[in-house]
Point group: C2
Chain length 235, copies 2
Amino acid sequence: MAIRSVSLDNNPCRSCDVRELAICAALNGHELDRLNAIVSVVQIAPQQTLFCEGEPAHSLFNVTRGTLRVSKMLVDGRRQITGFLGPGDFLGLAFNDTYAYTAEAVTATRLCRFPRTKLEALLEEFPALEKRLLGVASNELAAAQDQMLLLGRKSAAEKVASFLLLLADRAKRQGRPANSVELPMTRTDIADYLGLTMETVSRTFSRFETEGAIRSERAQVVIERPEALEDLAGR
Amino acid sequence: MAIRSVSLDNNPCRSCDVRELAICAALNGHELDRLNAIVSVVQIAPQQTLFCEGEPAHSLFNVTRGTLRVSKMLVDGRRQITGFLGPGDFLGLAFNDTYAYTAEAVTATRLCRFPRTKLEALLEEFPALEKRLLGVASNELAAAQDQMLLLGRKSAAEKVASFLLLLADRAKRQGRPANSVELPMTRTDIADYLGLTMETVSRTFSRFETEGAIRSERAQVVIERPEALEDLAGR
DNA sequence: CGGCCTGTTGATCTGTTTCAATTTGGGTGG
DNA sequence: CCACCCAAATTGAAACAGATCAACAGGCCG
């Protein structure tokens, strides 16, 4: 088993890097101790599965490090990636008894795991936490609607441009330079996120590069002319 | 102004048709009175707008009768319908200060309106209501992910088949025959929901009819061979 | 009765996919 | 440390699903 739990001796939540981004921001010091009491840290290696669509949803998670992909599949193997998650993102918000999607690591990933029943008990006690969760869900819903617009109505170039700008926004929100974005995922992952093929994604990157809109190096893209991408992305 | 409010004399919530479907199911009799105190009934005619994307989100709604469409647009007019809402569905769950989408009536529609600030105050008092809202959001999120899979990875025939089966499921959940579904929306609406053109939707309906999978009459479709659609829909 | 909006059907066109051949680059073992 | 290997990415050519353009039919309302 590649998933291993690490026990916590003190309360690392208090000094957590992503505390302000995560649901934990809803709690004060004492409450945070209570949360810490039910949490365990999980680490998974690239390409490994955190959980699968259809599995009983015993845990909820908070990403603290690395990148995950969340996806759904058709029986014949066609795949749709519904999101890439990074530090601060919450995961597992399917209040049925089974996960509605699969979650896999893109890079080495570290997460906080909350047993569902125990987290639900804490929700009763701390309404602020429940409110925060509702906020998270609302934001995800808004993002999902943007993605539907992208999948249903944008051209390949518009999709790729929107994707790059989304990553740039995230980088900025995490206090990193917004003109240089990391691309830890493969072209196939990007294609499955945008409803395209790998080849179309690759061609579009090449086109953007020859047009001077981006400069592509290894697992990183430098956005040279954001305005060119913004025109395409349609906003 | 086409939107008119109707004042309530007693507490019609108690005898509401959709009470068990809506968020109101989370409340008991006394609590329901409190909810009733902040609610107003709104009626809108076909094709009229309930609210627009970007407008300040002062109200939340619950549909009690009719069908709405919820959509987003690109600057050049391309449109993506992210959902059709019917009796019992909740609307306006964008906990930012502005609506993330436009809501318009497909048929004559009646809704309960909750002023946002007042509903939020009630949420503080009745945690069950907040829990219910989180459940609603989770369900919508799961539906949104299904729709992303459809938009990104399904063929035209698969999309139309999935759509018909979705409507059949809804009809069944509302206690109506599952083999005969109402289609109050236009072909263009369906196309904008499925990420297709009107023409492709029309051709696909025709094909299903010549194949004997459906029988199409006016604003209604009879599903003759659900298994044929299920094969296509991929589940 | 006539006009208009919605839907259907046909013909053609095009963006994206599919299939296929190279190229690149990072990791590994000799 | 270098050469090799394999997965990922790139690029080209051909095929195709769905879009676009266009003509026409039907139903509804004024």
